[in-house]
């Protein structure tokens, strides 16, 4: 039987980041930073398109995904409009729409004191959080360690990632 006394605290979050859009990356960064602020260990493991957030050439230019995103009505309040106004997904494909949505989101993030991606990775690294890249995805996308931002702690295989995540109280989260 479970009682409040045997609630096991979260000791470590191992967060897998598989998406490379701005909206795909930020939740993982916020969760990792939030963990460190609570004294919880945090590791980020970037795989597949998530590597877009580690590659020096791309990480400062991530975009909000507007194609196939049927929840873009959520962004309407950023334009001073009610969130119930639909945003037809076909409009997401119009040139400039993704850039505009990205601009709006970056502006709102800055107001909330959420740093841009590079600064956010540096903040997490300074706080003792670990940043890893997936070896398989690196090979697939023809990336080398020197193509990634300097705070990356290592390029790991899946097996090494699980080893790194070992321990009672670790939670692995796929985003």
């Amino acid at each position: 039987m479970s009682t409040p006394d045997d609630k096991q605290p979260v000791k470590k979050m191992s967060i897998i980041v598989s998406r490379g859009s701005l909206d795909g990356i930020y939740p993982a960064l916020i969760m990792a930073n939030g963990a460190r602020m609570e004294g919880i260990e945090a590791s980020l493991f970037f795989t597949f398109f998530g590597l877009n957030a580690l590659a020096n050439k791309t990480l400062d230019h991530l975009k909000v995904a507007t194609v196939g995103n049927s929840a873009l009505n959520m962004a309407m309040p950023m334009l001073g409009l009610p969130m119930t106004i639909p945003f037809p997904t076909v409009m997401g494909a119009i040139p400039g729409v993704s850039a505009f949505a990205t601009h709006l989101m970056n502006k709102e993030m800055e107001k909330l004191d959420i740093p841009p991606v590079r600064e956010f990775l540096e903040l997490i690294s300074d706080s003792g959080g670990k940043i890893y890249a997936c070896k398989l995805a690196m090979d697939m996308f023809k990336l080398k360690k020197e193509d990634l931002m300097d705070r990356v702690d290592g390029v790991l295989t899946v097996g090494q990632f699980y080893e790194e995540s070992a321990g009672v109280g670790t939670h692995i989260l796929f985003t």
């Binding site: 930073n33 602020m37 609570e38 004294g39 909330l112 004191d113 959420i114 600064e119 300074d126």
Partner: protein, 103 residues
């Protein structure tokens, strides 16, 4: 609720954060730091604590990012000084409310 810390009867919430920042003094800070496992407060700790109190008095929203950019302490130093919850523990020691943001 009332709690006696370092010989002072002060008002705290259920998590032990002071509810009236004006009741704070350095002896209270030292007692809370020891309760939180931080140990003896050094000048570096006190610099952070005083900065937090100043910002709180100004009504500024405190975030880990703003602390790192304050010039008072780097992110790394803040984590080293207050292990296990840099912003939460330093705020508690500073006698100001628990930070409410996610950043």
């Amino acid at each position: 609720m009332k709690k006696t810390i370092a010989g002072n009867e002060i008002d705290v919430n259920e998590e032990g954060y002071l509810t009236d920042a004006s009741q704070w003094n350095e002896a209270i800070a030292a007692a809370i730091a020891s309760e939180e496992g931080i140990g003896a407060l050094t000048d570096a700790h006190m610099k952070v604590v005083r900065y937090l109190r100043e910002q709180q008095a100004k009504g500024a929203a405190l975030t880990i990012r703003s602390m790192g950019k304050s010039g008072v302490v780097t992110t790394k130093e803040l984590y080293d000084l207050f292990p296990g919850g840099p912003l939460k523990k330093s705020s508690k020691i500073a006698g100001i409310p628990k930070p409410v943001g996610c950043i």
